[in-house]
């Protein structure tokens, strides 16, 4: 697979480290609910089809991207930046 890093351009996926399902959103730092944290850590939709997922370009510029990828065909449709530089890279 090849991802287009918003900073570095198209690269092999092995330059990136998988960080999992982008729909798992950590509860706010003020949130102390065990249930909310459990859901964040353990609940996965694991779809067969479109999946938004986070990858870190660890062997490149080390910024994170959200990759929209079909888990059945491995077709990548979007690579978008996430993080402090989201707007800068968009």
């Amino acid at each position: 697979m090849r991802f287009t890093c918003p900073h570095c351009g198209p690269r092999d996926h092995q330059e990136f480290t998988y960080r999992g399902d982008a729909s798992a959103i950590r509860p706010d730092i003020k949130n102390t609910s065990i249930g909310d944290h459990n859901a964040y850590v353990f609940d996965r939709a694991n779809p067969d089809g479109e999946h938004r997922e986070i990858w870190n370009h660890t062997l490149g510029c080390r910024t994170h991207v959200i990759v929209t990828r079909n888990t059945v065909t491995h077709e990548v449709t979007v690579c978008e930046p996430i993080g402090p530089f989201k707007e800068v890279l968009s």
Binding site: D12, H13, Y18, D21, A39, F42, R44, N46, T71
Partner: protein
């Protein structure tokens, strides 16, 4: 027809015209006592043990493709119980017991070959970890031995045991009566034996939905030869490995502590016997054995991302081949014949789930990561017990669905809730 050497001779004389189908191709009934979704190793063994141990024979196994089309026919055929944590050690040792009897129980030679599983260690601290695991096995009555470098070298003459290797071999952990088996034969043997006990195996029958009364599952909707129909059942068991999330979603269970990834497997061309054991590499992640046909069967890490494609990518190829030739530099000119992929149901702690629920009338068997093949007998045996008694057996009582959120993971590798690292 009972299989035996005599039967083979008799049939050969008759031009092999009298063999009958190994299992029937029945039409589905309107209802069953139990429906098992998934005609793989775990589903078929569950049906077999429900029928043979618990006397429940009014069972349908529903399989969307051909029987054994999932991971039972795509793995590297390793059978072992060399685990560190008690729930795993005892569960997999139960499986070993069943393996030892399996060809006989099924009247089908699954070619279980206790040739020894050897884990190689590359550092003294890895040897300590192996000793810790081996001692756990010994204390639980499982055979295990710690081998020195010389002993390892003697068993496998091609191994690079030079001190100059990047990951020099220190020694290894041997489970002498573990080994391998013929994967397809396990599916076919269970299918044939279950069929003979009256189980209906419905191939090319895809579950498209669940029948529910309130929350309670009372059957399945299926598509078969292009036609939709309903099959009712008192109990519905799900044993679909990598497709667990997809199937459970149809029942309204939207999220589970499971992610599906692809694991690739590799086989070389056939050669005369060159390694006697099943061997794993300590300097990385690699396992290799030689099949009876002569091919080296091997694999390594999963491809680290969610996937439902039964194929993987190049980085794992490079990594696996590099590790194989690091271990056996004399394999460099042997040739890779074929590779393929299976979809793994990676759980959040690397251990399985065999449980009642999560809905009334439903039973779940999942989370096998990439250790499902060796588990197939005990998994079916425990799942059958759980379905028949509506509660788990002691052997699978720790394999709950709730353990993750409760904080009771069974985490052999210690990687935590990052399923792609298990």
């Amino acid at each position: 027809m009972r299989y035996s050497a005599l039967a083979i001779l008799k049939n050969a004389l008759g031009g092999n015209k009298d063999w009958s189908p190994a299992w029937r191709k029945p039409e589905p009934k309107a209802s069953y006592d139990v429906i098992i979704i998934g005609g793989g190793g775990h589903g078929l063994s569950t049906a077999y043990y429900l029928a043979s141990v618990h006397g429940i024979t009014n069972i349908a196994v529903v399989e969307k493709g051909y029987l054994g089309s999932g991971n039972i026919g795509r793995n590297t055929t390793i059978v072992r119980s060399n685990y560190r944590l008690t729930p795993n050690t005892q569960f997999y040792e139960k499986s070993m017991e069943l393996w030892r009897e399996l060809s006989h129980s099924l009247n089908y030679n699954v070619m279980f070959s206790p040739r020894g599983v050897l884990n190689l260690a590359c550092t003294p601290s890895q040897m300590d970890v192996f000793a810790e695991r081996g001692n756990q096995m010994r204390l639980m009555g499982v055979k295990s031995e710690l081998l020195t470098r010389d002993q390892v070298a003697k068993l496998n003459p091609g191994l690079d045991v030079s001190g100059s290797a990047r990951f020099p071999i220190e020694g290894g952990l041997l489970q002498p009566d573990a080994g391998s088996a013929r994967h397809d034969a396990v599916a076919w043997g269970y299918a044939r034996a279950a069929d003979q006990l009256g189980v209906d195996i419905l191939e090319n029958t895809e579950v498209t939905g669940f029948l529910k009364e309130g929350d309670t599952v009372v059957g399945v909707e299926v598509k078969r030869g292009g036609e939709q129909s309903e099959i009712r059942a008192q109990k519905v068991g799900v044993a679909v490995a990598g497709h667990t999330s997809r199937v459970m979603k149809m029942a309204g269970v939207d999220k589970l502590p499971i992610e599906s990834t692809v694991l690739q497997a590799f086989v070389s061309e056939s050669i005369k016997p060159i390694i006697p054991n099943v061997i794993t590499f300590g300097g990385g992640h690699l396992y290799v054995s030689q099949s009876d046909k002569g091919g080296l069967v091997f694999g390594g890490n999963i491809d680290y991302y969610n996937s439902y494609a039964q194929r993987g990518n190049l980085p794992v190829w490079e990594e696996v081949m590099a590790e194989l030739v690091a271990m056996f530099p004399n394999f460099a000119r042997l040739r890779l014949l074929r590779s393929w992929g299976g979809i793994m149901d990676m759980s959040m702690d690397g251990s399985p789930i065999i449980t009642t629920g999560p809905l009334p009338g439903m039973y779940l068997n999942a989370g096998w990561c990439y250790g499902g093949f060796k588990a197939a007998p005990a998994s079916g045996w425990c799942f059958a017990h759980t379905i028949a008694n509506d509660k788990p057996h002691d052997l699978n009582s720790a394999f709950t669905l709730e353990r993750f959120k409760e904080g009771r993971p069974i985490d052999e590798t210690g990687h935590g809730p990052t399923p792609w690292y298990h």
